[in-house]
Symmetry: C2
Subunit: 235 residues, 2 copies
């Protein structure tokens, strides 16, 4: 937890917030807060600032919050990603959110197992928790938007063009040769499932202006491929 | 397992290898091998090729191995990394190895907890297993060399200069401003512990020619920071 992420509901008065439950336990057991301690903090989808601990009881802490700055700017990148198996999904979501991606489209492709769509990790409350942990890690209070597309063809035919409008378009491709664009260019990056995109899917992406971006000579776990490509494109 | 990694001891005759235990179970249960099936394979620290399954019993498979190519070239980068807590160490090791780093120096720094050096994950047999899994993932048969330095000062005074000889030198730094070097330049990259390098450590690195390389505006888990920086420098 590199930032105490405050919710609007935590505030009992302007600048005065009370934290309970998981966040309180974290502050007590790992950060060993005491009255007067200053913490890096932020308010969800609002701003970054500092929180000074003013009162601690057995089950809550009250902090005085002062906004100091705007949140870090979003990565200028929309991510389109084949839905991964549950454990990998969690890592990929954490990676994408902590790296600053603010628009993530999870899609079905031929090599995505249908059962992945039933995973409890996709339930709203679980998504919210994963996202919160990643925002606390990154010290960024701004939630990403997630979108889920359960059928590839309607997604590709009816939505892809809008989603990628005004951006340079890439897909992760072991044989990719597209040059890396200038930093700051708005991008859309598509990543396939563990088994890769099919030829039909790749052709569809190419028809919409996507070009293959090399992922290196080695086969990486999805979460490492994602981080390496974001580093290559944007860091 | 994107490559069947064969050991020299697996060979009963030239081109004829027998696989048992974990690798056999993996081939049977996940890859559903049958006689005649062709697999991507490699021989540890030797070459890449193909293996054709010629015989399957209840507890072993015999394959005919044909070498086809040299291993993928190593990343031109030496990694120096503060020892992480055990779970993170495992992820970082997997990431570094699967991305193709062939020289990894784990070091002690002020903010590394002494207990990390007692972790069972550092035992040779556990290191070997982790490395094997990462090589199978990456489809690269070449093991990295690992080095462990339990004291920062002797490391910095007596070894750092040799380790980094002939390379451009960087350390991960939230405030870094060093430009990204041309691809192919031999590099040394130093990454700090969760709490970062101390000022003394940073100064020591600078004195040896290391420059701060920006890690982005967000705070990343070590394994993601590593993958993003390697992507930025080398992908």
């Amino acid at each position: 937890m590199n930032m105490l992420l405050l919710e609007k509901e935590d505030f009992s008065a302007p600048g005065k917030a009370v934290v309970r439950g998981r966040r309180f336990e974290r502050l007590r057991d790992f950060i060993h807060i005491a009255e007067g301690k200053e913490l890096k903090a932020g308010v969800r989808n609002t701003d970054c600032g500092k929180a000074v601990v003013v009162r601690i009881t057995d089950n809550e802490a009250e902090v005085a919050y002062t906004p100091l700055s705007a949140p870090p700017p979003p990565l200028p990148l929309t991510l389109i990603m084949a839905l991964q198996r549950p454990q990998t999904f969690e890592k990929v979501l954490h990676g994408a959110v902590s790296l600053g991606v603010k628009k993530i489209h999870f899609i079905h492709t031929f090599k995505v197992e249908k059962s992945y769509w039933q995973s409890s990790r996709l339930r709203p409350e679980n998504l919210r928790e994963e996202i919160t942990l990643a925002l606390e890690q990154a010290a960024d209070p701004v939630e990403p938007e997630l979108f889920f597309h359960r059928r590839f063809k309607p997604f590709a035919e009816d939505e892809l063009e809008n989603i990628a409008a005004g951006t340079l378009r890439f897909f992760g491709d072991p044989a990719g040769t597209a040059p890396v664009p200038v930093r700051g260019t708005p991008l859309t990056l598509a990543l396939g499932p563990e088994g890769g995109f099919t030829e039909y899917e790749t052709e569809t992406l190419r028809r919409h202006g996507f070009r293959g971006l090399a992922t290196g000579e080695r086969i990486l776990r999805t979460e490492f491929a994602l981080a390496a490509l974001l580093g290559k494109l944007l860091l």
